[in-house]
Symmetry: C2
Subunit: 287 residues, 2 copies
Amino acid sequence: MEKINEYGETLEQFLKNYDENKYRRPSNTVDMILFTVYEGNLKVLLVKRKNHPFIGDWAMPGGFIEFEEDMEQAVLRELKEETSISKYTYFRQLYTFGNADRDPRTRIITTVYLSMTPSGNIKNTHASDDAKDARWFNISKKTISSTQKGRKSLLCLENDQEDIHICYEIKDNAKRNYVESKSKWLEKKSNAMLAADHIKAINMAMDVLKSRVASTGILFNLLPNECTLRQIQDAYEAVIGHKVDTGNFRRDIKKMLIDTGKKTKGIGKRASLYQFNPMYDFLKENL
Amino acid sequence: MEKINEYGETLEQFLKNYDENKYRRPSNTVDMILFTVYEGNLKVLLVKRKNHPFIGDWAMPGGFIEFEEDMEQAVLRELKEETSISKYTYFRQLYTFGNADRDPRTRIITTVYLSMTPSGNIKNTHASDDAKDARWFNISKKTISSTQKGRKSLLCLENDQEDIHICYEIKDNAKRNYVESKSKWLEKKSNAMLAADHIKAINMAMDVLKSRVASTGILFNLLPNECTLRQIQDAYEAVIGHKVDTGNFRRDIKKMLIDTGKKTKGIGKRASLYQFNPMYDFLKENL
DNA sequence: CTAATAGTGTCTGTTAGACACTATCTA
DNA sequence: TAGATAGTGTCTAACAGACACTATTAG
């Protein structure tokens, strides 16, 4: 039996009368934060904005969602268009930013995705790709001071080849029920800045990465298939922002690795090459 | 000096020429999952849909975002309109669902918020509020079987007063880089169902709750200011879906509690009343 | 040989799980 | 006293942090 609503309409009639244009609606975009690790540095991909608003500022790659496409499709399409990168080992939704006044064009709600790839998947990592204006930035978030109530950190994005420095001071304050993050662009330490509220997303992504790296195998989404314990430790330290005890780190990380038997070449003792034990693949991301 | 884009426009000119209606755009809604604990049961608030689509099905409270209002404002307004509840001890964004075909009206992207409140904050928790058609459902997610690759669970929503049963089978499969959750409505065990894809959000909320309850003080957002160890343990067990060792639980939880010195009345030995140590407030939610 | 890199061993205090036990109240 | 509820004590294996140590290579 067909259901009718309080106005006596069937579903079909209701849909026929439905007018999406009755109220003014926001526009929707997707953005992606793409991390990798190269030579012991954690890196993030940014694109220089070529048009208004925020022209000349650095932004996460992204763009408008097409009406018929799923959000995941949209973000993958945008990234491919802007950077010709199409392989990820990790890909998940991070957060949706939707404050009414976050963009001067109109109300724009953006959903940000967090993804990672080993640097081997990337063409032109360090070569310039001028037409696209996409660049990899070293990223670090280091705690300056920490109290019961909160923490003050320095979040810096740097591209050494082109001498670009973007630096923000972040205050993470533990409120009663959540952590409130406030960020301030440090004009004196920077010669460029991030577009709109993108620092919020990047800061959040760093926190997510940090908080999961110790308890999961998430780190291996950033590393090549075969790597040395030193490479793994360097990547780990780049993510958490400080050094750890080598003996303890090796003791613990080896539990989720397989020794390939292969060795590296180089100065000093040759290092063994390890693989992430596929038995623990589920640890690369659970939740 | 004023910046101009590749068409020679200043920001002002660009904004003047900007037409948000050039492409068809989705509509945006917000929804809220509100949890509480009452008499040792974890409960979630659902609203019976009175209009198409999904008429008669149970849904999270929520609705369309007004053009000028922030998303958080929108979800708080909607909840107040639908249930006259306005106090939370926890409130954060959970996930944005935006598949192109998730609603028959038009493309609707919804951002879901997760919130909690002690049952004392709620008027009419169990009294009927027929005009609004909002009801509290006991919620449980219990693992049926578990292998290396994944887990099969039963997620059930039940309102005993009105004999409403909504039951889904959830398969959480650990893929290479993420957990894929598939849900199936169990017609035989149910006499009602959830609207649209709301089971996805509710399942995700249960997983978030479960995964954080052991390592944080998130549980105390659901409990009254003063409570007994037994109440805390019951709430804990309701969230994780199975029993734990009483001795060990007490030993560990006491570390974040203060003994008020007060005692309960009742049959058997009187129980001490504890408070969450405000020193650990930041543990109620960090990140 | 030295410098450089890779890698190991051991001690200690803390924690998590298992489980047997005692205490206080009402009727 | 029985039945009900609240609460404690103890053993053990695993783990995390600190830190001192050994191994293998190039030049």
